[in-house]
């Protein structure tokens, strides 16, 4: 199979408009004859479901939480980018495009990223019209802040709860369509398989998380908007339920998986305190606008601090190493995430980390509080400071925060073409679940932008083209593929329920997380990856022999839900390791120790690796097959990223 990215011809800035014109349209009277299945109700799913229903399509929407509004988009803090140039500081669609391609270390498609930058401006208009209460200035106009990897202020925000406010906007649009009868909402339904019939995606299999009922649903197209798979690392900033099941099952039905190893480790999270820890909490990147990152200059001093022999206030200004400001004078504390994370790890590995475990660096607001006043800092970051205080019992107004990198976002996901269609006709993938737009590293405030771009402004056009092609012939679940997929799912559930071993599913998940963090985390090398592959296989084998799953199917069953998710993570992990091994260069968040510059920065190898890896499933016992989509750069020049 040859990968066709379907990137339109023509100059970069005209591709999307031309493409929109060339796409087939569905006649308004015919739209109601189509059903579209939307799995996931985060920014990507809710915006897609609402927009498609407004156009007249029938939509069936699914989420695993009890309410559509609880999708993990709700937790996004810092903001959303848009090339509005309200600040008159030199921003433009082209600059947002350029920053995003560069930030992604030249591993994203130019055409996709340019489209994203183009529609970014419409997103803000849309959200304001829905009643999203963005932060404003005294003159009544919208306020902006800066984020990493950019030298302009283009980030729109709603205090530290931007994702919440954007999601509530999309959720309200969704509610309006539920009210109109155009969307049927299925909450507490988990998609456990994809139904492919006659070579096309035609439906899904779900388990009702309250009753255990396994059902199939048919549609003319299926949109997966199921978020990221960072929980493969066990500890991450994701919600407890975030999973890979929907995209992993679809991968096993023929959708290629793009760049699975591209993971973003976020520099500013609250450090781990013990084995009991179930998740990690992000402290928004926006804090790096006003917070300064440092560690003690010497190991001796760091050690005395860790032992409690001296206090932070005992360390004189000249004994502090503001390492980001020192190494990257032009971007300072606002270097992209991958750079900031690696530098924090380096400081800790060098024995200069802080906190009891030494796995932390300081993020210090003393200077900002002095310059701006406590009230101003509180107005900007109050909720984040409170959150920090709740978790650590330390007051960040009085002493510096301790932060450390944590798994945050997955740039990888199902491979999609320019229309957001996977390699299975009729199966689309939107938001964090797809691989598009962010290359090897996502810039802050760009995921919210991408989710809403995909849902509000891209899919309404591109899915229409496919639907017009297949025609409005009614679909139902009478095709034998439905019964088969349902039976496979039931068999799998029964298999889980028969597992009465000695080790809990959580223990397996934790073990998997340790392996991934150690060998496929912030720094990777051949020997470690080879070892990880072996360890994952052994762990997976052991899981199927020795895990405990309790209870019955016909009830709410946490242990069964968890078992299904962890079983899929145990398979995905191996593909991530394969991908990381295959990519022998460093790029963005993927740091191969074998490939670094003399200064220890990530060294790309454009000659050999300027491609998207797209993996094809070949069976449980066979190796996945790697396909390569070569990336062609016609507008930006590939240079070694420098933030110095």
């Amino acid at each position: 199979m040859v990968l066709d990215s379907k990137i339109p011809e023509g100059p970069l800035a005209e591709k999307w408009s031309k493409h929109k014109f060339n796409l087939k349209l569905v006649n308004p009277a015919n739209k109601r004859k189509y059903t579209v299945i939307v799995v996931g109700t985060g920014l990507a799913g809710a915006s897609a479901a609402a927009s498609l229903a407004e156009l007249g399509y029938n939509v069936k929407a699914f989420c695993y939480q009890d309410s559509a509004r609880r999708a993990h988009s709700i937790a996004a803090q810092g903001g959303i980018n848009a090339a509005k140039n309200y600040r008159n500081d030199g921003d433009s669609v082209y600059r947002l495009f350029y920053d995003t391609v560069k930030g992604g270390d030249y591993r994203a498609r130019e055409a996709n990223v340019h489209r994203l930058a183009e529609v970014s401006v419409d997103i803000i208009d849309q959200c304001v019209a829905q009643g999203v209460p963005f932060a404003r200035e005294y003159g009544g106009l919208l306020d902006n802040r800066s984020f990493g990897g950019a030298q302009v202020s283009r980030t729109f925000y709603a205090r530290g709860q931007t994702g919440q406010q954007l999601l509530l906007g999309a959720y309200s649009a969704l509610n309006r369509q539920i009210h109109e009868g155009k969307v049927k909402m299925y909450n507490r339904h988990e998609m456990l398989d994809l139904v492919v019939a006659d070579g096309k995606a035609q439906g899904i299999v779900t388990r009702n998380l309250l009753t255990g009922e396994v059902e199939t649903f048919a549609g003319h197209a299926v949109l997966l908007c199921t978020g990221g798979y960072g929980n493969v690392f066990y500890l991450s900033t994701n919600a407890m339920g975030c999973n890979t099941t929907a995209i992993w099952r679809s991968y096993k039905k023929g959708a290629f998986f793009g760049n699975p190893c591209f993971t973003q480790i976020h520099p500013t999270c609250i450090p781990v305190t013990g084995d009991h820890q179930s998740k990690l909490t992000l402290m928004s990147e926006s804090l790096r606008n006003d917070g300064r990152v440092w560690v003690p200059k010497t190991r001796e001093m760091a050690e005395r601090l860790r032992k409690g022999e001296i206090k932070v206030s005992d360390i004189k200004e000249e004994d502090r190493d503001y390492f980001l400001e020192r190494k990257y004078p032009s971007f300072g504390n606002l270097v992209p995430r991958d750079v900031a994370s690696r530098n924090a790890k380096e400081a800790a590995d060098d024995g200069r980390g802080v906190g009891a475990s030494g796995k932390a660096v300081f993020l210090d607001f003393a200077e900002s509080i002095q310059r701006l006043g406590r009230a101003a800092v509180e107005a900007k970051y109050g909720n984040l400071f409170d959150m920090y205080y709740q978790i650590t019992d330390e007051n960040p107004y009085e002493m510096p925060m301790r932060i450390y990198p944590a798994v945050h976002y997955t740039m990888g996901g199902l491979w999609v073409d320019y229309n957001l269609m996977t390699t299975i006709p009729g199966l689309y993938c939107l938001g964090e679940a797809n691989f598009s737009d962010h290359g090897a590293n996502r810039l802050g405030a760009s995921a919210l932008m991408q989710g809403l771009a995909d849902g509000y402004f891209v899919i309404p056009y591109t899915v229409g083209d496919y639907l017009a092609t297949i025609g409005p012939k009614p679909v139902d679940n009478s095709h034998p593929a439905f019964a088969q997929a349902k039976k496979d799912t039931q068999d799998r559930i029964n298999k889980f329920l028969s597992m009465k071993g000695t080790k809990t599913v959580d223990e397996y998940h934790r073990d998997l997380g340790h392996i991934m963090w150690e060998y496929c985390g912030m720094a990777r090398n051949e020997a470690g990856l080879a070892k990880a592959k072996q360890m994952i296989r052994e762990l997976r084998e052991d899981f199927w022999k020795n895990a405990i799953v309790l209870g019955e199917n016909e009830e709410m069953n946490m242990s069964l839900e968890k078992a299904g998710r962890v079983a899929d993570f145990l398979e995905l992990a191996e593909l991530m390791v394969d991908d990381a091994r295959e990519r022998k260069e460093s790029c963005g968040g993927h740091f191969r120790e074998e490939s670094q510059t003399e200064e220890g920065e990530a060294k790309r190898d454009d000659e050999n690796f300027a491609y998207v890896s797209a993996w094809e499933y070949k069976g449980d016992d066979a190796a996945a097959e790697l396909h390569k989509e070569q990336l062609i750069f016609e507008n930006v020049k590939l240079t070694q990223r420098s933030y110095k």
Binding site: E54, Q65, D66, S67, R69, R70, I74, A75, Y86, D122, I124, D125, Q126, C127, V128, A129, Q130, G131, P133, F134, A135, R136, E137, G140, L142, A158, Q161, Q164, Q165, Y171, S172, A173, N175, R176, H179, N187, L210, A239, M240, G241, H276, Q277, S278, K279, T281, M387, Q390, I391, D393, F457, K500, T502, T504, I548, L550, G551, E555, M556, M558, S559
Partner: protein
């Protein structure tokens, strides 16, 4: 580890909505004060699972106080003893060694128990479906800066919009009223220019749905405001009442 605590838990167990339910006592030994409340339950659950006993079911997801999925009535208070936080943000350092902790689900007719500590709060979604939106379609929207909004208004709308739909207000109220929740959404949109065209229809539709769901009426006791993890203020209820009565006594064209 030193500093760890031994606790006794009195937990509500109920197999399903039909089951009568009862309290069951569990020992929670060797609990670190750095654990969150839900991590403490995770530990208890892992120990139960190892013994082959069904784990205690509860709702949760983000574990950072924003999704509104966690609930728990702890020692007689929604989200436990501290103000301004959710159960998932509560840490065990708020308890002391040897303490007995009682854990129950939200209790309200409109929130039936699903299993153990998990309840059905979909009534809240239905209230918003009835009118908690601005009727604009995707696309064709004028520039976001076309209508300036005074900062104080935008900030106040934001304050109302921070509600996480957890239901603590209902659980705290002796009447199981949903007035705080419903009024927060109504206020957010009533404060903003974008919400004006549908302001009075919205309030009527949402209040009608709230009543249909079986929530009790608001008698101004104010427990909801105290227990709300997001500090949603009673002022919202006043705004809702004002709009509701305006809508009842005047014709739409007179007020708009």
């Amino acid at each position: 580890m030193s500093g760890n605590m031994n606790l006794t838990l009195n937990v509500w167990r109920q197999k399903n909505v039909a089951d009568k339910g009862r309290f069951v006592t569990y020992k929670a030994d060797d609990i670190s004060p750095d654990m969150s409340f839900l991590e403490m339950l995770d530990v208890v659950n892992e120990r139960l699972v190892k013994k082959g006993e069904d784990p205690i079911h509860f709702d949760h997801d983000c574990r950072e106080g924003i999704c509104g999925m966690c609930s728990l009535y702890i020692n007689g208070r929604p989200h436990g003893p501290k103000r301004g936080i959710t159960t998932c943000q509560l840490h065990m350092r708020s308890f002391h060694d040897g303490e007995t902790i009682t854990i129950e689900p939200w209790r309200a007719e409109a929130f039936p128990v699903i299993k153990d500590l998990a309840t059905d709060r979909t009534a809240f979604d239905r209230i918003q479906e009835a009118g908690g939106f601005v009727s604009v379609n995707t696309g064709g929207i004028p520039d976001a800066n076309e209508i300036p909004i005074p900062k104080v208004i935008a900030d106040e709308a934001f304050n109302s919009a921070t509600c996480i739909q957890c239901g603590a207000c209902v659980a705290a109220c002796k009447n199981a009223s949903a007035a705080l929740f419903v009024s927060a959404k109504i206020s957010q949109l009533a404060l903003l220019p974008q919400g004006q065209p549908e302001r009075y229809r919205r309030v009527q539709a949402m209040v009608a749905q709230m009543d249909a769901e079986g929530f009790g009426s608001c008698t101004n006791t104010g427990a909801c405001e105290i227990e709300c993890p997001k500090g949603i203020s009673l002022t919202n209820i006043n705004r809702m009442r004002r709009d509701y009565f305006t809508a009842k006594f005047f014709k739409e064209e007179e007020i708009n």
